[in-house]
């Protein structure tokens, strides 16, 4: 879809500087449109949320296969009903909307049976359930509610996606080695000895390594915001979501 044929709201969103068109605004604007932008946006949204959805369902007592089917079914249901269009940005964050929709979906036996059938017959996404299932089984907080688990998976997923993009970008710029050496400093400020040790490998002074680590943190921070921006409907929400993400990840459950 060329820019000139995009709905007005998409172009409007794209003009918002760093806050570009979000997956959600694209999905909303596209309605039932099957254009490549809309499809990609839907898929991105599903990718960002399927792990939280799966873990929520598992925590609610669903079996492995049931949860797999329900996850596919839930997203199929959203698309089929064009439920994305029902989400009103003015009424709250997309994450909350999704969780509410999921609760209803899980409780709606009839609708679920219909969409599970549909989803089962034509999987929306190729999802690596085994990995997620293993992570679910190793979850250290077996007493956390499905909602808490949903948020934790969502928050970790945002960081993972930001890190993956950072990695990919470093790779593209032939700086993978630098990424590998510096990524640990995302989790902790290095000591002088650690910066010196990494400097040995990267042929840089410890001060330069410290600086590069600082830049990488800046970069990562921007990417996390960008990831969140893709999943919300307005710039103001990004800060809110970031705050929520920090609380979720630093408070355990």
């Amino acid at each position: 879809m060329s820019d000139t044929t995009r709905p007005e709201s998409i172009r409007e969103a794209a003009r918002g500087g760093w806050f570009g068109p979000t997956h959600w605004t694209v999905v909303l604007a596209a309605g039932r449109d099957e254009g490549p932008d809309a499809l990609r946006a839907r898929e991105e949204l599903c990718r960002a949320y399927w792990q939280p959805v799966y873990c929520y369902l598992r925590r609610c007592g669903r079996g492995v296969h049931d949860a797999e089917d329900l996850t596919q079914g839930f997203f199929a249901h959203l698309l089929e009903q064009n439920a994305f269009a029902k989400a009103d940005p003015a009424r709250g964050r997309f994450r909350s909307f999704l969780l509410t929709a999921l609760r209803h979906y899980a409780a709606d036996e009839q609708g679920r049976a219909r969409s599970v059938k549909r989803g089962h017959g034509r999987p929306l996404l190729s999802l690596d359930h085994d990995v997620v299932e293993e992570r679910f089984l190793r979850d250290p907080y077996p007493n956390a509610t499905g909602e808490v688990l949903f948020d934790q998976r969502w928050a970790t997923g945002v960081l993972e996606q930001a890190l993956a993009r950072l990695r990919a970008d470093c790779q593209r710029r032939h700086r993978l080695e630098e990424f590998e050496q510096l990524k640990r400093f995302l989790a902790q400020e290095g000591s002088a000895a650690e910066y010196a040790a990494v400097g040995e490998v990267l042929h840089r002074t410890p001060a330069a390594v410290r600086m590069a680590a600082c830049r990488m943190r800046d970069d990562f921070r921007r990417r996390v915001r960008a990831e969140l921006a893709r999943l919300v409907s307005s710039p103001a929400e990004v800060e809110e979501e970031l705050r929520h993400l920090c609380v979720v990840l630093t408070h355990g459950s």
Partner: protein, 661 residues
């Protein structure tokens, strides 16, 4: 369900397959919970997830009541807390009360350390230091109370415009005297900036926030990335670079110079659009000369200011008192002692901060391999060391070179490593690379890793190397064949605050010499000597209280130690000299002239000779290698070497080993 490992930093559960093995909680704390440098243009919106102190206060059912205090008015807030005017009920006095954010106190140990430092600061009694009355905790909120100063800070006084040079010099002179007093009490400020200097009703300065904010942020495990730096425009290069061991008296001298710069020009020495750029500038760039910004500043005062702001701590004023005295000279219309840096000097400094990787670090190892009676020959003044088959090992950047003490050969070695030591049988090398200990044959073949997390390494015998972990907590021994390791001792069992780094083993490999620190990252004047079990054997005391010494003394034979002093007592601008002292003595003897940088130092195993490297302002990248007798006589240059675009960069330790064969 298989158990998840725990994060070694925060103790939280860690799924090693998620987020590339990084701990999401630690990443969040380190990278996302940030407060950007206040007021930096273009900085992203400040954001904090820790509970703001005022919320903690407002939860109190009696609004405004905080323990023994009644909070009246908020006076200001910064990265590390909020300051209120408060009335202390029990004493019915008005004080300034600073409430610290709860975030940084993640562990008991940090609380203990913070309180220890706060109490040290509370012990300071000086007319130009804001007195701390009480350090405490109320409902989990840490606070301290201090004198309430009715007046403005230098940040407000000097906001946007320059002060008269005489006024600026007077404020900074008085502040420097106060800082010098604090240094004498073993307390560093670490965060001098105009907003931390208040001007009281009598128009004299009162320094506040001694060491506290910096200690908090530097040690905190919730690293508030912008806050660590507080006001990075005033931060010394060694702090900006995180060169922990280098932070000391000279860092506060830098801070005073930065304040003077601001008062004279209206702006901090360095400004940038973002934090990374600012840190880079602090470390790498020279400040715009004061007179370029304000022609009204006299040349001598500019020289004083820029002397404080030199990148190398050793080339600034040796103490805050020296700065105060030079300012007093200027105020009295007498010539100052500081000398402006010439073009050559500026080039030299530039070269030192722009080292190509190959010259970023020079450490030097001298190995006297099969030693055949050179002792005595040099006393004739004839250096016939080629008979002794001695070798000098030199590390330049990552690369190791071997030469001989006549400087005739220059041979690159096929290994890379930080610290290098030759095994007692002269057949193998031990070295640290990427924080790990490796051993290999002399030609680099057969390299294998024998230990991790190491800062320094020494051979103990043909089967064992000793190493020091990067946190400098103690000494470990590892068997190079089996990699079985054991801790010999913990430094803190011998000296309360541990050591300042470096592993110096006596030639007979029976004792260590080390430089204890005082708990504030400042090296003390002592040299500690202990045996391999960590039993304290003796101490050498250097006799000048106002200077710091090089991190690691080197053994000079079995009973003396030698090191490079970075400050000449009684001289304002630092010079270096090589000094030596006998274990148990309280005085050292100066072996060389005071002057240009003479570092690193190595001593021969028999204690008869000392080797050192000289660099000279203007000789960009030019190194001279010297040998002299143990008493300082018979000094002789044996090798010159020039490295492209680089001087010494960051100086390391050096050592000398030899084969008994």
């Amino acid at each position: 369900m298989s158990a998840l490992p725990r994060c070694s930093a925060c103790g939280g559960w860690l799924d090693e397959r998620a987020l590339e093995g990084l701990c999401p909680a630690c990443v969040t704390r380190t990278t996302l919970i940030e407060v950007t440098a206040a007021g930096q243009p273009g900085a992203p919106r400040p954001f904090t997830a820790v509970q703001p102190p005022e919320e903690a206060v407002s939860r109190d059912p009696e609004a405004g009541k905080f323990g023994d205090y009644h909070l009246e008015v908020e006076l200001g807030r910064g990265g590390m807390g909020v300051v209120y005017r408060a009335r202390q009920a029990s004493l019915n006095r008005v004080v300034a009360l600073k409430l610290l954010p709860p975030g940084p106190f993640a562990s008991e140990e940090l609380v203990v350390r913070f309180r220890a430092e706060a109490q040290a600061a509370a012990a300071l009694q000086h007319p130009h230091i804001v007195r701390i009355h009480e350090v405490g905790q109320h409902q989990g909120q840490h606070y301290f109370s201090m004198d309430l100063i009715q007046g403005r800070s230098l940040a407000e006084v000097g906001a946007g415009s320059a002060l008269a040079p005489t006024a600026a010099a007077r404020y900074v002179r008085l502040a420097a005297e106060a800082i010098h007093y604090a240094h004498g009490q073993g307390v560093l400020h670490r965060d001098l900036k105009p907003s931390n200097i208040l001007i009281a009703a009598d128009d004299t300065p009162r320094i506040t926030d001694f060491g506290l904010a910096k200690r908090l942020s530097a040690e905190s495990d919730v690293t508030l990335s912008g806050q660590v730096l507080g006001s990075p425009g005033y931060l010394s290069p060694e702090q900006a670079a995180g060169t922990r061991g280098m932070v000391g008296v000279a860092s506060d001298v830098y801070g005073l110079g930065a304040v003077l710069y601001h008062l004279l020009t209206g702006v901090p020495p360095f400004q940038a659009d973002n934090l990374s750029e600012l840190l880079r500038a602090v470390i790498e760039e020279e400040p715009v000369p004061v007179r370029t910004r304000n022609r009204a500043v006299p040349r001598d005062l500019e020289t004083v200011c820029l002397t404080c702001l030199r990148k190398q701590p050793a080339t600034r004023y040796a103490s805050a008192q020296a700065l105060a005295e030079d300012l007093a000279r200027w105020e009295a219309g007498r010539p100052v002692r500081a000398r402006p840096t010439g073009l050559a000097g500026r080039l030299f400094r530039w070269g030192r901060r722009q080292p190509v990787p190959a010259t970023a670090v020079v450490t030097l190892a001298v190995a006297a391999l099969p030693f055949a009676g050179s002792l005595g020959l040099h006393r004739l003044g004839v250096w016939r060391l080629e008979r002794a088959n001695e070798h000098v090992y030199i590390r330049v950047g990552h690369d190791l070179f071997r030469t001989d003490p006549l400087g005739r050969t220059w041979q690159p070695l096929p290994i890379q490593g930080m610290h290098v030591d030759v095994s007692p049988d002269g057949r193998r090398l031990g070295y640290v690379r990427l924080g790990r200990v490796y051993v290999s044959r002399l030609d680099g073949s057969g390299e294998r890793q024998v230990a991790g997390d190491a800062a320094d390494v020494r051979w103990l015998d043909r089967d064992t190397v000793l190493y020091e972990p990067t946190d400098l907590t103690g000494v470990w021994a590892v068997d190079v064949h089996t990699c079985v390791r054991r801790q010999l001792f913990d430094w803190k069992a011998i000296t309360p605050h541990g050591i300042h780094g470096g592993l110096s083993l006596s030639p007979d490999r029976s004792r260590f010499a080390a430089n204890p620190q005082n708990g504030f990252d400042v090296p003390t004047q002592d040299v500690l000597v202990c045996d391999l079990r960590g039993s304290s054997v003796g101490t050498v005391w250097a006799d000048t209280p106002d200077t710091t010494m090089d991190a690691c003394p080197v053994w000079l034979g079995g009973e003396r130690v030698v090191w490079c002093r970075f400050a000449r007592p009684g001289v304002d601008v630092s010079e270096t000299a090589i000094v030596a002292a006998r274990v148990g003595d309280t005085h050292y003897e100066t072996l060389t002239e005071w002057g240009d940088i003479q570092y690193p130092v190595a001593a021969s195993p028999d204690g008869s000779r000392i080797l050192f490297v000289k660099t000279f302002p203007g000789d960009d990248g030019h190194l001279e290698f010297w040998i002299m007798d143990a008493d300082g006589g018979n000094a002789r240059r044996f090798l010159d070497r020039t490295f492209p675009r680089g001087g010494l960069g960051i100086l390391g330790a050096c050592w000398w080993a030899r084969s008994p064969e």
